[in-house]
């Protein structure tokens, strides 16, 4: 048995491809949902942290610290295997989305905070002097500039969420990795695992590259 037959067996790959693509669909659904929830939650937490009344600020800080300290895998196993003991029974998809987006929100919150704080003071003062109320000032003036500043780290965070979806295979989520391991067991050949790795890379490499390009672009464009 040579190395090509073992790791790059085209017949095995062809047979396992439908399973892998189904897994990819699940991974994308899980990843995109968690990214969207994480961004929304992160923004809300960042605003609470910066502008909320005192107790809310503390709560936001506690949330951010806690969820950046806990390993996602641990959180995932708790949401799926521990919560049923108090009557909260989540589907694998719901458990994985919850764990991923809660952690993602804590990182996104810090990124948004950095972005908002990087917007020059004069922009806040000009908006206030014109009479903008806080909400419109944020929506029209501050956030568009803040988001532009933090697009690279925000994209990196999204890439991490997408990669971390692979952890969901431990809660029996039929994602790309889980499907690949099943196909591998079925075919008694590791080619599907290599196929899954290739799909992850094809999916994320353009995004990784885009972050690099964006960082260069922003560094040049800043005045």
């Amino acid at each position: 048995m040579d190395i090509v037959d073992t790791f790059f067996n085209l017949a095995v790959l062809r047979d396992s491809l439908p399973l892998l693509l189904m897994g990819l669909g699940t991974t994308l659904g899980l990843g995109l949902t968690s990214i969207a929830l994480g961004l929304l939650g992160g923004l809300a937490i960042a605003l609470a942290r910066l502008y909320g009344p005192r107790p809310l600020t503390w709560l936001a800080v506690a949330y951010i610290d806690l969820f950046r300290a806990i390993p996602i895998l641990v959180l995932l196993i708790i949401t799926y295997y521990a919560l049923p003991f108090v009557g909260i029974r989540l589907s694998p998809f719901a458990a994985a989305t919850t764990a991923l987006s809660m952690v993602s929100a804590s990182y996104a919150a810090e990124i948004f905070r950095a972005g908002i704080q990087a917007v020059p003071r004069g922009q806040f003062e000009a908006s206030q002097a014109l009479g903008f109320r806080s909400w419109w000032m944020m929506i029209d003036i501050i956030l568009p500039q803040a988001v532009r500043i933090v697009i690279p780290p925000l994209t990196s965070n999204c890439i991490n969420v997408m990669k971390d979806t692979a952890l969901a295979s431990v809660v029996a989520m039929p994602d790309l990795l889980k499907q690949a391991t099943q196909a591998q067991a079925l075919a008694a050949n590791p080619t599907p695992l290599i196929g899954a790795a290739a799909i992850y890379i094809l999916l994320l490499l353009p995004l990784v590259r885009a972050v690099g390009t964006l960082e260069n672009h922003l560094a040049k464009g800043r005045r």
């Binding site: 004069g122 922009q123 000009a126 206030q128 002097a129 014109l130 009479g131 029209d140 003036i141 500039q145």
Partner: protein, 244 residues
């Protein structure tokens, strides 16, 4: 004439440093007041208290009869008081046109068409009409400051505050901005201008105020101020800024 701005006994502290020391100042409708004085004398702090970009610790400020304070009054005061900053503070992610049109859309309930028509008219008036679709970064400093003036005017404020509007400009652009400010003075809008441009102060002011160490040391008509200042400190200041 009735006062549009009334400042009574206003003091302001930064820790133990007193930035403003019991300032009294009344400005009539349509009056142009130019505030001069050495750096750190409290000129900018004073006008920033008028729209509460800085809080004052004691005293009262009323704009058109409304007390300047946090809470419900603040939006009313700010919509009547326009401000032009040293560093322009245009919104860099919007076109010049939107910079001027957005505030009255959001804050005065103007339709987009009405706001943009007003914006184009004002941009023409400050000589920037042809640049309406550019972004601020594509404009020179002098052009940006003229856009900032148009943006302030678009809210139709009763009082316009200028915080050293030419201090960040290259020398050759100072004139174009001062010309715009001067043309506004003739339209009857109330203005308070903090500046180091003495020639401008002399040409445009109805009244010149000299501040030092958080106090108003002298106030006079421009002629009296520049030809026969009463205070020794004013004479020393004028001597140093006019002879270099």
């Amino acid at each position: 004439m009735k006062p549009i701005l009334d400042i009574r006994g206003v003091s302001k502290f930064y820790g133990s440093f007193q930035a403003l020391d019991r300032i009294d100042l009344t400005v009539a409708e349509g009056e142009v007041v130019v505030v001069v004085g050495p750096s750190g004398s409290g000129k900018s702090t004073l006008i920033r208290c008028v729209n509460l970009l800085e809080r004052y610790d004691t005293g009262d400020i009323h704009v058109d009869g409304i007390r300047v304070e946090t809470g419900r009054n603040l939006a009313a005061v700010r919509s009547e008081v326009g401000m032009v900053f040293q560093n322009f503070n245009l919104f860099p992610h919007m076109t010049v046109l939107r910079n001027v049109a957005l505030p009255p859309m959001r804050l005065r309930g103007l339709s987009r068409e009405a706001a943009e028509a007003r914006a184009r008219h004002l941009l023409d008036r400050v000589g920037i009409g042809a640049q309406a679709d550019k972004h601020p970064a594509q404009l020179s400093g002098g052009q940006q400051q003229r856009v900032a003036i148009a943006r302030a005017l678009a809210m139709e404020p009763k009082v316009l505050l200028f915080d050293e509007p030419t201090s960040a400009l290259d020398p050759e652009m100072v004139g174009e901005v001062l010309d715009v400010v001067q043309s506004l003075a003739r339209t009857g809008v109330t203005m308070i201008v903090v500046t180091h441009e003495m020639g401008f102060a002399r040409r445009v002011a109805d009244r010149v105020i000299f501040m030092e160490a958080g106090r108003i040391l002298e106030e006079a008509t421009p002629d009296a101020f520049f030809t026969a200042p009463r205070e020794e400190r004013t004479r020393a200041f004028l001597h140093s800024v006019l002879n270099h």
